[in-house]
Amino acid sequence: MSTSLDTAPGWREILTNGVWHNNAGLVQLLGLCPLLAVSNTMVNALGLGLATLLTLVVCNLLVSLLRGIIRPEIRIPLFVLILASVVTVIELAMEAWLYELFHILGIFIPLIVTNCAIIGRAEAFASRNRPLAAALDGFATGLGFALVLLLLGTARELLGSGTLMQDAELLFGSMGKSLSVVVIPDYRGFLLAVLPPGAFIILGLLVAGKNAMQARSAKLLLANQPASE
């Protein structure tokens, strides 16, 4: 594997790529299944977002550490092996210490294995860069994914049931109870936002919003330097 150390991207570039320009949820549209299924409340979204973030960091780090001995013809089975092991360790740890949340997130914890964003980062970045950069890239990609999840979860919980951080004690223990806020008292609920179609619609709006912001900044850039290109 070529280790292009001279052209290795700086940490600022890695961060903005993972969180914004190349966001797993909004740009690459990877890992949509858990993104749409588990974003019905903020707590669920945070739980899965953090688990995915941790998986990405550890996985990228391990792949990068092993990049010297990984041969091209066995790289995919090795990535899958590492990914599956890391997720299983996280799954067991969550069942032991976050039992109730684990059972709410259910199948979507083991299904982190199938999130193509993770194997994509292992292949495209971690196997070609130094451990520190790889871990940072995993962190940035995971953060981007978790932020989209959290944004979706916030919008859906607020529109759907008029609350924020409901059942926070599942994630933060008994201290979390005080985090739960009823924003709209006696809210009748808006079913569409809680059900899967609501997830699609809100994600669509988020993608559109991001594109609009980018188009605007590109226009501004163009207006400032009309001569270039």
Partner: protein, 228 residues
Amino acid sequence: MKNQSEKTAVGMFKSSTILAFVTLVCVFLLAGTWKLTADKIAQQHQQAVLNSLNRILPVTSYDNLILNDYIEISAPGFFKHSNPVRVYRARKQEQPVSLVLQFTTSEGYNGDIDLLVNIDTNGIIVGVQVTKHRETPGLGDDIDSRRSDWISDFTGHSLNSPDSKGWTVKRNGGYFDQFTGATISPRAVVKAVRRALEYEATNRQRLYQLPSEAPEHPQTDNYHGVVQ
């Protein structure tokens, strides 16, 4: 030519050695994690079962180790579901107090609903809980005690009160409330609770007397059990 194939053979050998080595490391990692978490998970699982039982079973009403005192019966014809029915026996000073039936009904709007029904020795309901369901949020999920206290209406009722005609929702001429926009979910629960009452009434003696089927150290070896 020969050199080429020799090279391939060496490459294949190297590749498979690396793959085997990493697999071995992963196996040890997983085994270690499992060993570290197994006890904690079994304990959490027991606690979760106990928590859901205690929501409908007053803690002071019994003094036996209830997780060690249950039987499993298979009556798919009666309960209209292939899942076995688990019956926890609450006793105080060896005397029967109540039976908690844990079973599933398939008649929900959106598939299976898991229930716990606690019935005392006179056939009167002490409490009912829905432990797992997929009913429509905002409509059918009022059967869940976290969403509304509809489920507490069952407490104090028995097969004679209301009479057999009353054991359905109001829309069908019965005693129990349905929800605005949702009749199927509450009706499924009412039907299921009635079934539990009928089963308990005809089998009461036997259900208290059968020897417990709990293993000596329950739940330590099947932490992925489906009780929840």
